[in-house]
């Protein structure tokens, strides 16, 4: 109880000391607030976008691998057999893909068309769900994404069982010879998948694999979709395929993309952390300068306090409390400004060129980020205040009382 009261009294005394030198304290607090501001603002925005991108990619399946032929190479049954024969491979299915225009009333909408094994599709993209209908069996039925069935205004244009017309490239002997119309019936409509990377199911029409050859008229497979038995085996499969096919095939593991993005965002996060640390280091110098000046100005007062019975450790605590209080105020102000700044910054959004994807996400302000920032700010007060506080506590009372 006595200790608690002493602490409360010391906080009161420290507050009065700070109030006496308001301008200096406010300037120091502003200096302190920059570190937490930068840390909260940058980290929350970077983490928000990076976590979203990684989450989207990992939702594609950590054991999924896409194999695409490079120019002048045609995937064959032999390649498919080889991949299927690998002990690490659970399933491998070829697919056809193309771009198409969809006639939706007077509009023409650009969409993707994938002719792929439906079971593999739902296995690879775990969060993909059907909103209406069921998986169709014939080559003339399709599963369509939400943005295909619904207009941007949210109005549903295509219903289950409707026939849609796709304008696709007309391919003869492997070369594009103009355009042709393809009519397919809607067998199922997917639930909204959300912003997509690599694959965008919302703007895709999925067809039976045989439709690729029979309906779209494509001669060659666009790629082979491979599922490894275990995510840990993905690396081996990729390595074997790259060794065997060298430049002839492009092998993409979704987990590797997620890892690459994670490592990039971790690097960005580290750079941001280092930048914030520089601001924190400057703040330490600011706190130290303020407190040294304050202690020098109050040397006589410290002498009086020692004369009337304050111990060295009590003087140390008193001075340290002043610097910690400045840090706390600066930290809280910085965090609040950082949160506001993060919302402004995230409003700018992120455009991933190549994928034609624009994201606007809320910053990821987590309790751990706030606590981490606050602890760092308190550390600023402790480190910056410890030397002046120690000096003040060690000054002999007789010497302090003589100080002019």
């Amino acid at each position: 109880m006595a200790l608690y009261m002493l602490f409360i009294d010391f906080i009161r005394l420290a507050t009065k000391a700070l109030k006496e030198r308001k301008t200096r304290a406010v300037l120091t607090i502003i200096g302190i607030s920059i570190g937490p501001l930068v840390m909260v603002m940058m980290s929350s925005v970077v983490r928000s976008y990076s976590d979203y991108i990684v989450e989207r990619i990992t939702s594609l399946g950590q054991n999924a691998i896409a194999v695409f032929p490079r120019e002048n190479y045609r995937l064959s049954e032999e390649d498919l057999s080889f991949i299927r024969s690998m002990p690490e491979v659970m399933r491998a299915e070829p697919f056809y893909s193309t771009q198409a225009l969809l006639k939706r009333g007077s509009d023409e909408v650009r969409i993707s068309v994938f002719a792929i094994d439906y079971k593999l599709l739902f296995e690879a993209i775990g969060s993909l769900e059907i909103m209406e209908g069921s998986i169709p069996s014939g080559t003339l039925s399709a599963i369509i994404g939400k943005k295909v069935a619904f207009k941007d205004s949210g109005e549903q244009y295509f219903m289950l069982g409707d026939v849609i017309t796709l304008v696709v490239p007309k391919i003869e002997e492997g070369t594009i010879m103009g355009k042709k119309n393809v009519n397919v019936k809607i067998g199922a409509i997917l639930k909204e998948y959300g912003g997509a990377l690599i694959v965008d199911p919302d703007s895709t029409v999925f067809l039976h694999p045989e439709a690729g050859r029979k309906i779209l008229g494509m001669r060659d497979w666009s790629g082979i979709f491979v599922l490894a038995r275990d995510p840990a085996m993905v690396r081996d499969v990729v390595s074997i395929l790259r060794n065997r096919y060298e430049d002839r095939l492009q092998v993409i593991a979704f987990s590797a993309i997620a890892e690459a993005i994670s490592s990039v965002t971790m690097a960005i996060d580290f750079i941001n952390f280092s930048t914030s640390l520089s601001a924190f280091a400057v703040a330490i110098a600011g706190v130290a300068a303020t407190m040294i000046t304050s202690v020098m100005e109050r040397t006589r007062e410290i002498g009086v306090m020692k004369a009337i019975g304050y111990t060295s450790s009590q003087i140390l605590l008193l001075i340290l409390l002043e610097s910690i209080m400045m840090s706390l105020i600066g930290g809280l102000a910085g965090i609040l400004l950082g949160i506001v700044g993060a919302h402004f910054l995230s409003l700018r959004g992120l455009t991933i060129s190549g994928l034609e994807l624009s994201l606007v996400l809320s910053p990821k302000i987590t309790p751990s980020l706030i606590i981490q920032t606050l602890l760092l700010t308190i550390a600023v007060g402790l480190v910056g205040g410890i030397l002046p506080a120690y000096k003040a506590s060690k000054v002999p009372p007789a010497v302090a009382l003589r100080y002019e």
Partner: protein
């Protein structure tokens, strides 16, 4: 037979030397000195004679270079700085020439300062603060004021209230009237005499003979050595010269 008064502080062959670079100064030379319970003592001497150093030794603010200091019979050389701080808080009150009040704090908070390390409840402290201020002739309306809103004499009374609020055995005053006019000095001296009457030992360092003669005993110090001990002459005291009267200390 009356029992002999208790020795509160004893200095035995105490010397204090300071060394700043090549300069070596001897502030006290083998001083032996005793403060008894209820003493009313003045320490006189010219500037640089070692008065303040002696007061610092008695007040446990400094340690001697050689010799021993006993506080209530305990050798302070065997005590830690923390123990000395506790002793100062519990047993000694200090009054300074320049008052040394903290101007950002109110009068109440200034007087309360020595009570904070004791961990007393606020309500108890508030009562003690009021009692101390009234004891030195202060007014309760000063409590909310800042020290710089008071006159010099009033500020010194606040400083004395701060010194006595913890009910110390000894009050040490270093030139307490040095910054005051004669009327204010008289009030301060009268306050000391009153406190002495209530049982506090008073040690006043001064170079003013009129102040020294208000006390009972006068020690004269020169070049770090006590060169004489006299009984004060009330006729030469400030109190006598100002009003022609003298408040007896009762000793």
């Amino acid at each position: 037979m009356t029992p002999s008064p208790k020795i509160l502080v004893e200095l035995a062959n105490v010397s204090k030397e300071y060394r700043v670079g090549e300069i070596h100064t001897v502030a006290l030379k083998e001083v032996s000195f005793k403060i008894y319970e209820g003493d009313l003592v003045a320490i006189m001497g010219p500037s640089g004679s070692g008065k303040t150093t002696l007061l610092n030794m008695i007040g446990l603010l400094d340690r001697p270079s050689s010799g021993k200091i006993y506080f209530e019979g305990r050798d302070i050389s065997k005590m830690s700085d923390k123990e000395l701080a506790y002793l100062r808080n519990a047993k000694i009150g200090f009054v300074f020439q320049t008052f040394n009040l903290v101007n950002r704090l109110t009068v109440f908070e200034n007087i309360e300062l020595p009570l904070i390390p004791k961990g007393l409840p606020r309500s108890v402290r508030a009562e003690m603060v009021k009692e101390a201020l009234l004891k030195v002739g202060g007014e309760l309306e000063w409590l909310r004021k800042k020290p710089n809103q008071l006159s010099g004499g009033q500020q010194q009374r606040v400083a004395i209230a701060r010194a006595i609020v913890g009910n110390p055995l000894i009050i040490l005053a270093d030139e307490p009237t040095g910054n005051l006019d004669r009327a204010s000095a008289k009030i301060v001296v009268e306050t000391f005499l009153k406190l002495n009457k209530e049982g506090h030992s008073i040690i006043v360092v001064t170079h003013d003979p009129e102040i020294a003669n208000c006390m009972e005993k006068i020690y004269v110090i020169r070049d770090g050595t006590i060169i004489g001990q006299y009984y004060a002459d009330p006729k030469e005291s400030l109190l006598n010269k100002i009003s022609g009267g003298y408040v007896s200390s009762g000793h």
